[in-house]
Amino acid sequence: MTNQTHSEETSTGLSHNKLGMWVFLGSECLLFGALISTYLLYRGRFADGPAPGDIFDIPFTSVSSFVLLMSSLTMVLALSALQRGDERNNRLWLLTTALLGAVFVGGQVYEFTTFLREGLGYTTSPFSSAFFTLTGFHGVHVSLGVIFLMSLYVSSARGNLHKERAETVELIGLYWHFVDIVWIFIFTVIYLVPSPTS
């Protein structure tokens, strides 16, 4: 999507919706920065509960991380298809992205229930509270993204999403890619960097 269509409509010559989305994403950096920093401070405080190094299932999380990463590819392909007027492929890639996002959220639900069975509840320790808050907050972002994507899919299926409205897909895409890059950070810092063990 180019910004050409907005050059005569706004004082900056840029889409204000897109500008607003980038400001929003910039502010989200502060939100996730707070949650990640808090986790880093508390990851060693697991009291009598399970320690992060004992409970994380890296192979499983690696697969779900890969799924989310590839959903960024399908998202950008959905936008690309709509920008060239290919509505059929746009719907296909939107649906694929939503499904990959749902798989990621499903994996997170499975991970959380496994942790609960192993004795790691939300209030078990400062570590568990910080972990569930951070990853849960991210999961909510992904879930909202899936809802947005399905809304776009339904809109397209009803014949209301055309090339002229490609910026709407681009805005949802920016949100989706941001959620992905936050997970790139979380996956490395929380899961892959060696964690304390009990």
Binding site: M1, T2, N3, Q4, S7, T12, G13, L14, K18, L19, W22, V23, L25, G26, S27, E28, C29, L30, F32, G33, A34, I36, S37, L40, L41, G44, I58, P59, S62, S65, F66, L69, M70, S72, L73, M75, V76, L77, S80, Q83, R84, G173, L174, H177, F178, D180, I181, I184, F185, F187, T188, V189, L192, V193, P194
Partner: protein, 113 residues
């Protein structure tokens, strides 16, 4: 936009230029390939138990930053769009990094490891 159109180069860009061509689908698949390889390398470090933390952690950080850059630059089109978008995003990113680096320093995170 055409899928056959190759991306513009850095030298073609200017703040006043509001029309930008996005990469081809083929380029997107190539970027995804790079991201997949980097993720595989990251995950492989999990089984390298003999690698000391002084090497492992910087290595993981570098791969993370490269992945972050690739998604932001290519999939989010920061490389091709007006630089004002990047300025807004980077402002938030830098502000968050500085604020939370100070926060972690105050709580002696670096000292404790």
């Amino acid at each position: 936009m055409s899928t056959e159109t190759e991306h513009t180069t850095e030298s073609d860009k200017s703040d006043d230029e509001h029309v930008h061509e996005h990469p081809s689908d083929k380029k997107y698949f190539q970027i995804a390939g790079v991201l997949a390889v980097l993720t595989a390398l990251e995950v492989a470090t999990y089984w390298l138990e003999s690698m000391p933390g002084e090497i492992l952690i910087p290595l993981l950080m570098i791969m993370m930053v490269v992945k972050f850059f690739y998604v932001a630059a290519w999939f989010m089109h920061l490389r091709f769009d007006n630089s004002l978008f990047m300025k807004f995003f980077v402002s938030g990113l830098v502000l968050a990094s500085v604020v939370y680096a100070i926060f972690l320093t105050v709580f002696e995170f670096w000292h404790k490891g």
